[in-house]
């Protein structure tokens, strides 16, 4: 408790003055970088950027000093692919913007494939869901459009956002999303073979200017990804991953696999193609016939084969985004090295999505930092302070407010007056 007060005091002081300068002293610094873990190190932040890392750094005059007392300091964590900022209440469709389903509106002969769909435009930086994730040490997300009835396999585009209230995406992070496999079969005439037929048709439209599947804007959007663009394929079955790698090679795409329940079976091919995998290690059951080979040590096996691994949930990745740490912890329990587990929440997803200045604790990186009560991959550890670009974030959310209202003893007035 004493430590918590120290932090709170430091932050109160930090707010009015130079809000982005601070020295965090005596931390166990998990850099998520080549430097690994640095015990009893200090991190100097000035102008929102990490300026120095080392033992016994001098505190510049007037700077806020936070005594870490050996606690772990990590880069801000990746939420996994999510609907943060584009989904408030999953069951209320008016609050959910993640999927485009024009098929219910347009005549069947008109195009419903809209790769030009840009989910970034729906992003609400003031979503009540965002602080719930942020107080848990989650600092950046990638919006992933989904495929649903009336939509298409080619779900559209989404970017990375920092959860600091900024309305704009991080430049250079926009990606195209494609959803494949048994779940998507209804969108491809009932066969996964139809998925490749349709995708080839879409590519052909983009390359040749035909309009079988795409609008003019869609052709332009898809064309930007051909020859080097980042395309995230949601795909689980090993055979489908192989087809994905071949498709990506044919068209010069930089593929990222999301899901990848059976990715371990094609680990060498993924490594050879330098294709990373965003996965959910908790999905160790054969939930469908695309995931018969699902297993707990998928992440460990991929890592051992040299494949870059990051974490992304298949459950409620928006509201319960905070569960992503538990994914990493379980992957470590199942054999993934601890440093790779942390990297899968930080530097690996940053690199996968083209974010160069975040995801690591290194000089020159933006100071998105989290100070933890203990091992950040352990479910009993808590984020005690989050800084984004050196600025302390309020460690409050709608949930902490509800908690505090009902934690207090009942008084004479109804609890509506406790605030």
């Amino acid at each position: 408790m004493k430590r918590l007060f120290a932090i709170a005091f430091a932050c109160a002081l930090a707010l009015p003055a130079a809000a982005q300068d601070l020295l965090i002293r005596g931390a166990t610094v998990h850099t998520a970088d080549a430097a690994g873990t640095l015990k009893d190190h200090d991190v100097l932040v000035q102008g929102g950027v990490i300026r120095a890392i080392g033992p016994g750094l001098q505190a510049p005059a007037g700077i806020i000093v936070v005594e870490a007392q050996g606690r772990p300091l990590t880069p801000g964590l990746f939420t996994g692919l999510s609907g943060l900022g584009v989904e408030e209440v999953s069951g209320e469709s008016a609050t959910v913007d993640a999927n485009l389903a024009l098929g219910t509106l347009v005549p069947p002969h008109e195009a419903t494939w809209r790769p030009e769909f840009d989910l970034d435009l729906a992003f609400n930086p003031r979503s009540m869901v965002i602080p719930v994730a942020r107080v848990e040490g989650l600092t950046f997300t990638v919006l992933a459009p989904g495929s649903t009835t009336g939509g298409s396999l080619l779900a559209g585009q989404g970017s990375a956002f920092v959860l600091d209230g900024s309305p704009a995406p991080l430049a250079g992070t926009r990606s195209l999303f494609v959803n494949l496999g048994g779940d998507a079969s209804p969108l491809s005439g009932g066969s996964r073979a139809g998925q490749w037929m349709l995708l080839e048709q879409a590519v052909s439209d983009a390359r040749n200017g035909s309009d079988e599947l795409l609008t003019r804007a869609g052709r332009a959007a898809l064309a930007r990804y051909l020859n080097g663009g980042r395309v995230v394929f949601h795909v689980d079955r090993a055979a489908d991953i192989r087809q994905t790698l071949a498709f990506a090679r044919r068209h010069g795409l930089r593929a990222v696999i999301a899901g990848g329940a059976e990715a371990w079976q094609v680990a060498d091919e993924l490594r050879a193609a330098d294709v990373p995998v965003l996965l959910d290690p908790l999905l160790n059951l054969p939930y469908d016939f695309d995931r018969i080979g699902a297993r707990m040590d998928n992440a460990a096996l991929l890592h051992r084969a040299g494949v870059t691994v990051a974490f992304s949930q298949t459950g409620d990745a928006t509201h319960n985004a905070r569960k992503v740490r538990q994914l990493a912890g379980n992957a470590v329990a199942a054999g993934l090295p601890w440093e790779a587990g942390l990297a899968g929440l930080t530097s690996a997803p940053a690199r996968i999505f083209g974010i160069r200045d975040r995801g690591r604790i290194a000089v020159g990186q933006v100071a998105d930092l989290v100070l933890w009560s203990g091992d950040p991959l352990e479910v009993t550890s808590l984020a005690q302070q989050v800084w984004l670009a050196g600025k302390p974030m309020p460690m409050r959310s709608r949930q902490t407010e509800l908690r505090d209202r009902y934690l207090a003893p009942a008084g004479d007035l109804p609890r509506a007056y406790v605030k």
């Binding site: 059951l285 054969p286 409620d316 509201h319 352990e378 808590l382 902490t400 908690r403 934690l407």
Partner: protein, 463 residues
């Protein structure tokens, strides 16, 4: 069976409210679809020198646990091993087998194919006549995965599409070819009811009742009014039969009704009542419903707002069977907080239970509890491991009506025991060995003691 014997048994069955009341057909008085469970044969086992969480609030260091004849024989220091196989417990932790009060394993199994969607009889808002056990696919690979997570007992429930969804069944988590061979001997059935959004959405969208929360409550009341009449008719008949004891002649029994039989069972207390209910105000409505008809609610399940009514739940002896952190997926789940379980646990005589409702969560119920433990401690609540283990053992057993058989390591209880590689409240904790009725049915270090469902057999074969 002679009429006299029949009458006597009937009177016996109805007079008392036995803790353990197997479902019996009122016409024949023989248990129907009875358990055929038999423990796997085992010799005595002594786990030596472990940190033992007994499930009733105690933590014993460097303690031994002796299992014999399928029962807990003794717990304490320096026990005499006798002829028991010794398992080294040093540096490890022992807990009672974990109990999940809310699972859909087998009725919504993996793989999740249409052919196996057997958990929601969405043909009427009141389907008290359907039984989850008739939809359980015993080959669901999820059972074995849950066993590897230390789960030894669970209640499999119908889903929450209906106001009254049917009967849940308590299973021992043993691999078996039939569900009867998994049924926990003599455990009462559970009645599954659901508040709020699900029933009104499912039926309202079809233009049927219920379409609103008003319709929900009206639906429960109408069903229980019928059940009261049904119960009274049978009570009258049985009393009349009792009066005729030894005489010839017989009154006509009332028409047997499967739907009302279940609800009458809940009214009599033979069937435990489990209500899926998220919001505090709706839980209060359901408590009034229970008062109106005179039944007891064993637990509110999901209850993301249970923390708002924690004192009332404790006063009325109602358990809160809750998630650690689910929220926001629908309006009634909007006010979820991670301290919910800890706040429900706070009053005296409370009954907090961590449940899964998920084939993933059931494998890691210890981690779910651990998350809440840390949140609760951070706001000043005292939640040591020996206390928190109750959320997934003895409190769960209480809600299922099987607390005299499982949930703690008291001598005489079923030897359902888990040996962990360390403190179970950690992401790195692993169940190393799991005994059910004294038989070692899971051993992380011995593939010969790791069950594989028929479905998974041979799936890995490739040239």
């Amino acid at each position: 069976m002679t009429p006299t014997l029949k009458t006597r048994l009937l009177a016996l069955a109805l007079a008392a409210t036995p803790l353990l009341a197997p479902a019996a057909d009122a016409r024949t008085l023989t248990p129907v679809y009875p358990s055929t469970y038999e423990a796997v044969p085992s010799g005595p086992v002594l786990v030596r020198g472990a940190t033992v969480l007994t499930g009733d609030g105690q933590r014993l260091e460097n303690a031994d646990v002796l299992m014999r004849d399928g029962r807990i024989a003794a717990v304490g220091r320096g026990l005499n091993a006798g002829d028991a196989t010794i398992v080294d417990g040093s540096g490890k932790w022992v807990t009672p087998g974990l109990i999940d009060v809310h699972s859909h394993l087998g009725v919504y199994p993996a793989p999740g194919v249409n052919a196996h969607n057997d958990g929601n009889e969405m043909t009427n808002a009141v389907t008290a006549h359907v039984w989850a056990e008739h939809g359980v696919w015993p080959q669901d690979p999820g059972f074995g995965a849950a066993l590897a997570g230390g789960i030894t007992t669970m209640m499999v429930l119908p889903g929450s599409a209906n106001l009254i969804g049917g009967r849940g069944v308590v299973l021992k988590n043993v691999p078996a070819t039939t569900v009867q061979a998994m049924k926990f001997p003599d455990a009462p059935h559970g009645l599954k009811m659901a508040c709020g959004e699900n029933p009104k959405r499912v039926y309202g969208s079809r233009g049927q009742a219920p379409m609103t929360r008003m319709g929900n409550i009206a639906g429960y009341r109408a069903a229980f009014i019928e059940a009261q009449k049904y119960r009274e008719a049978w009570d009258r008949y049985n009393e009349a039969q009792e009066g005729r004891r030894g005489k010839s002649g017989n009154g006509e029994p009332p028409q047997h009704d499967l739907r009302l039989e279940t609800l009458a069972g809940a009214l009599r207390g033979d069937i435990t009542v489990h209500i899926h209910c998220y919001r505090a105000d709706e839980m209060a409505q359901m408590m009034d419903l229970a008062k109106e008809f005179g039944f007891r609610i064993a637990a509110f399940h999901h209850g993301v707002e249970a923390y708002k009514l924690a004192d009332t739940l404790a006063e009325r002896g109602i358990c809160g069977a809750l998630w650690a952190d689910w929220w926001g997926f629908k309006m009634e789940a909007l006010d979820g907080i991670q301290e919910n379980l800890a706040l429900v646990d706070r009053p005296a005589n409370s009954c907090a239970i961590v449940h899964s409702d998920s084939p993933e969560g059931i494998q890691r119920l210890n981690q779910e509890a651990a998350k809440v433990m840390a949140r609760g401690e951070a706001v000043g609540l005292k939640l040591p491991p020996e206390h928190v283990i109750r959320w997934l053992t003895s409190n769960a057993a209480r809600a299922l009506g099987i607390a005299d058989q499982v949930g703690t390591l008291e001598p005489g209880k079923m030897a359902d025991v888990v040996l962990w590689n360390g403190n179970p409240f950690s992401v790195y904790a692993k169940a190393e060995k799991v005994w059910i009725d004294g038989a070692l049915l899971y051993d992380r270090d011995d593939p010969a003691r790791q069950p594989v469902s028929d479905f998974m057999l041979g799936q890995e074969v490739s040239p």
